[in-house]
Amino acid sequence: MRTEDFEFLAKTLKERSGLMLTPDKVYLLESRLTPLARKSGLDTLEALVQKLRVHGDQGLIRDVTEAMTTNESFFFRDNTPFDLFKGKVLPAMEKARGTRKRLRIWCAAASTGQEPYSLAILLRESWFKWRDWNIEIIGTDISTQVLEKAKAGTYSQFEVQRGLPIQLLIKYFAQEGDVWRLNDDIRKMVTFRSFNLLDNFFSLGTFDVIYCRNVLIYFDQATKTLVLERMAKCLAKDGTLFLGAAETVLGITDVFRPVRGQRGMYVGSDGDAEKIMGLNQ
């Protein structure tokens, strides 16, 4: 690939989605965009770049952006963030929101839906406590393709075996030929919409819990800071943020601080989340 083509694509992707591409990722561009070029009736990657440059084709730019996202996800990924949700966050929220009985949860890079659905399943497991609550779980992602799959709630045999205990498969899924479909009860608990983390967050409202996992790793430092600082503004004062195992706020922003001894869990620096969760400060 020509250097100027690489640079053009890297710049476009960074502007569109925050994705940082270093020159050692040329192979990734080639392997993901060559099929897209062919699908768009173009012979080469060069022709694709040419088309983007000259026509600024918005649809094509979106397809290129989506093709470059990494969408891997699985149910109860890394376990801890879900154990903490069940063991710490929910009991605290049950008390703190006991009067209004309203809970808003945001999965900010929801991909194919396993993360928000895992949370919905956990709520369902203690439904007697929540049945008269107004609970919103919102899953957003920049990629419309993954959101389609998320909404459908159908997963392959391989996908339902990564992280999902068999008891929960029996309880919440139905088998349809080769695929496993999540029951409507669970599917209805989650709303999916397309949202770019680089856009402003005003339309989203305030959340009690935010999961923003395994997406900041693809961004540069400045973008991470920007996203986290906006997130702080739409998280309740006693709210909780979960990041991925390879992500942190340290050295990036001081609007959040890690909760000591609880991996991947963060709270607002001026908030009182730890107190209501009975965690050591």
Binding site: Q161, R162, P165, I166, I170
Partner: protein, 121 residues
């Protein structure tokens, strides 16, 4: 080191499972059918059994029921690992006392995820 008994009538599957589980720091014993596996349990009770369903002599379900019926056994964790991939079989296995269930084909990630779930890793 935890001991895993791999029960499968296919030599190839036993070999693949052994390789994956050894990488996950398990000690491995092998059995070729349910009867063979019961005898292995009597000699040396494993921490976990990775269990195929369809096998000659004694199948996986029969083996599981026999093990769960034995008051003198220190009960092992039992993880089914079979091509039977329909809900009816899964329910039957869990009702008979299986702790987890893997639908073939499997890979390292699936085995690891399931073993984490039952608390072995």
């Amino acid at each position: 080191m935890k001991l895993c008994l791999v029960v499968d009538d296919s030599k190839v599957i036993r070999k693949v499972a052994r390789r994956i589980l050894e990488e996950l720091s398990f000690e491995i014993e092998e059995a070729v059918d349910g009867q063979d596996a019961l005898e292995a349990c009597e000699r040396n009770m494993p921490d976990v059994v990775l269990l195929d369903w369809n096998m000659p002599v004694m199948d996986g379900l029969e083996f599981l029921k026999s093990v769960r019926a034995r008051a003198d056994f220190t009960q092992p964790v039992v993880v089914f690992c079979t091509t039977e991939n329909d809900m009816a079989h899964i329910r039957t296995a869990i009702e008979a006392g299986a702790d987890e269930y893997i639908m073939k084909p499997f890979d390292r990630e699936i085995i690891e995820a399931k073993f984490v779930q039952v608390g072995l890793i």
